[in-house]
Amino acid sequence: MMEWFMEPLRHEFNQRALIAALIIGLTNGYASAFVVLKKSALKVGSLSHALLPGIAVAILVVGLHDWSAFLGALFAALLIGLGSLAVSRGTRIDQDSALAILYTAAFSGGIILLRRLRVTQEMEAWLFGNIMGLRDTDLWTNFWISLGALGILTALHRPLLMTLFDAEVAATLGVPVRFLNYLLLAILIIVLISSLQAVGCMLALGLLVTPAATVYLLTDSTNSLFWGGSLLGGFCAASAVLIGWWLNLEQGPTIVLVLGAVFLAVFVLSPRYGLVRHWVAKRTD
């Protein structure tokens, strides 16, 4: 039994996957509180899909290097994000619609392009992640991205929360609201990219929404929302890597599945905002 339990930790690629899952889970979990409070899950989801065509174009232009995929993804997300803004400002189309049009079109282009580039095997990894394929350099990239993102987000916690709570009042108190909104979006995109290798661009959104959304059903405290989301993200991602190994499941989807299962359990059982509590309260009324 012990042998079976410890077995996955013996392989170096498993250790790496475990550390990566922990780092990515912690960072995404923390950042997910912003996504939940900003109510911008759909927007972030669109941007996560926009990463794929960026990677495809980067591979086409400069080939697959350590940084080319990262920069390509970043560039594509920015282009589509700003593009949707330009369309919504210049026409009567709202930004969500503009975003949907642009990202689905770009995503389709990305799929077609990736198939032509003879990197079909990698395509699966870009879509759904391949956490076992991580190298040491990837681990370091993730580490620095996480450190930077967490550092900036915690340092700017106060003005960011004021912006999310009431942007107009924040502005009258001297908070640079517009700058912070762009900065937050930029950091969310970078955090998305950092989880790309683990869960792929189809599933990255789950990691960047579910942790804090789950904690949101348990607590009213802002700090618990951020750090609880972070811990939950890290814990779920790391245990999913192990569960995936033991049960022979794909790790990327397992991470998001575990998160979803925990959310569902909390949704039903939360002593504060759960379904059961709600139901009991209604019966006793």
Partner: protein
Amino acid sequence: MAGDKRNPEGHAGHELVVDGVGVNYRAVRALEDVTFSTSCGSCVALIGPNGAGKSTLLKAIAGLLRADRGRILWRGTGVGKWSREIAYLPQREEVDWKFPITVRGVVRMGRYPNAGWWRPFSREDREAVDRALEAMDLADLAERQISHLSGGQQQRVFLARALAQEAHALLLDEPFTGLDRTSKAALAGMLRELAGQDRLVVASHHDLETVRGIYDEVLLLRRRTVAFGPVETTFTPENLDATFASHAGQGRKVTA
């Protein structure tokens, strides 16, 4: 025109001048040639039909919207992007009351101009927050989540934030809307008290019955200034007619 200058030591002389102001809001000409001036110690009602530009005017004074015509002066200088001395209190429904934050957390936002992006709150900040909570009768609710507040309490949280900010001028958008009778009376008392402490209170107001009991001055607004002056002389049936009557043309001039 200006309020009483009861207390020369306070902010009593601080003057707000709105001079020929025009503002566009969402591609609509929301305000045109609005002119009035008042000063600390006065409680000013902003009255006009829906779409008259009341919210727009408050936002322009708060520095949230730019006036493309005319000037808005606070103590002799143009209002910039923001000012610690001017507090803006939005309509209650513009805020997400499910946001996970306590009463104290909201009031503490008023200390942001002091504490900045990341500096821990100083003793001075904490005392200012405590004083503001005390003044608005919120000390017992300080650690409560804002989702568990009544309408009157929500409005007091906004006021407490403005006090923590140490604002001299308070701009309130529809503060009485949606409150029950008791809360309305309590809020009226608090606005009177704030004006008595030589603060300037400017509030958009709907209920014409209660204007006389609360306000010193009244600005009748219908995209332009219809009339401005002390409640006794300006809040007249003729002026109200000119403000609300559906046939009152834009060009019709009414003087108080």
